[in-house]
Amino acid sequence: MTGGTVKDVGSTTKNKTGTWRSERPIVDAEKCKRCGICVQHCPEPCITLDPHAVIDYDFCKGCLICKAVCPFDAITSKGERLCQTK
């Protein structure tokens, strides 16, 4: 750790940024063609193709880029907290 060096690479996984999320993307396994486009574009990145797109909600911040880029409309979303009056 001398001088602020970090050898524990990839250790930000301790930080569960899924708590930041207010919108939740949801993959429709049926529709997913495993093209990987959402994987490439996810800023975190927290999507794996396993076997179809699987989102790690521990980290997903809910930006919904995946939903926007999916060419097969395989991703939908819903608010993490819905407003009951709506």
Binding site: T17, T19, W20, R21, S22, K61, E80, R81, L82, C83, Q84, T85, K86
Partner: protein, 172 residues
């Protein structure tokens, strides 16, 4: 209310926790009090948990430290309850929470819905001030309304004032 009141506001980057603190401080100033508002600044990006603080007092305030022992806590989003110990160090017991699923021991208010109605977006920072002052009386509705209008002149301010007033009324 005597002595100095300390408020802590929990929110997420981008939700306007600091703005809310400043608006509240402005309102108190308008009420003839000394006030101080600031954030627990950090390199936080939108979405990350943040805190802001307000001190209000009849006397000049000369303390320069974070608020570790708030009299009142405001939480702008229920999700934070799981992530943050919002009661940490609390002297008082008033936690004012924006939520649709009431939480034991909190003053629960569904500010999202109110904001959606009044502003058209779930921006609750100013709205929550209505609940806060209703519960604590640390500023008046008029002064908060004025402070909001100063910060957001025009229609945006008006909508925020409306939301604030609604919250004020909605809270018990």
């Amino acid at each position: 209310m005597t002595g100095m009141i300390q408020v802590r506001i929990h929110g997420r980057g981008g939700q306007g926790a600091i703005t809310a603190a400043e608006v509240l401080a402005t309102a108190a100033f308008k009420d003839g009090k000394y006030a101080q508002a600031f954030g627990k600044f950090g390199p936080e990006r939108r979405g990350a948990p943040v805190e802001s603080y307000v001190r209000i007092s009849e006397e000049p305030i000369s303390i320069m430290q974070h608020v570790y022992d708030p009299d009142i806590v405001v939480v702008l989003e229920p999700g934070l309850m799981d992530v943050i110990d919002v009661r940490a160090g609390m002297k008082g017991d008033k936690v004012i929470l924006n939520t649709d699923t009431p939480c034991e021991g909190c003053v629960n208010i569904d500010a999202n819905c109110i904001a959606m109605d009044a502003i058209g977006k779930a921006i609750v920072n100013t709205a929550m001030l209505g609940a806060l002052i209703k519960v604590t009386g640390i500023a008046t509705v008029d002064s908060v309304a004025e402070a909001i209008m100063e910060r957001f002149p025009g229609p945006v301010g008006e909508k925020n004032v409306a939301a604030m007033k609604k919250t004020y009324e909605a809270v018990q």
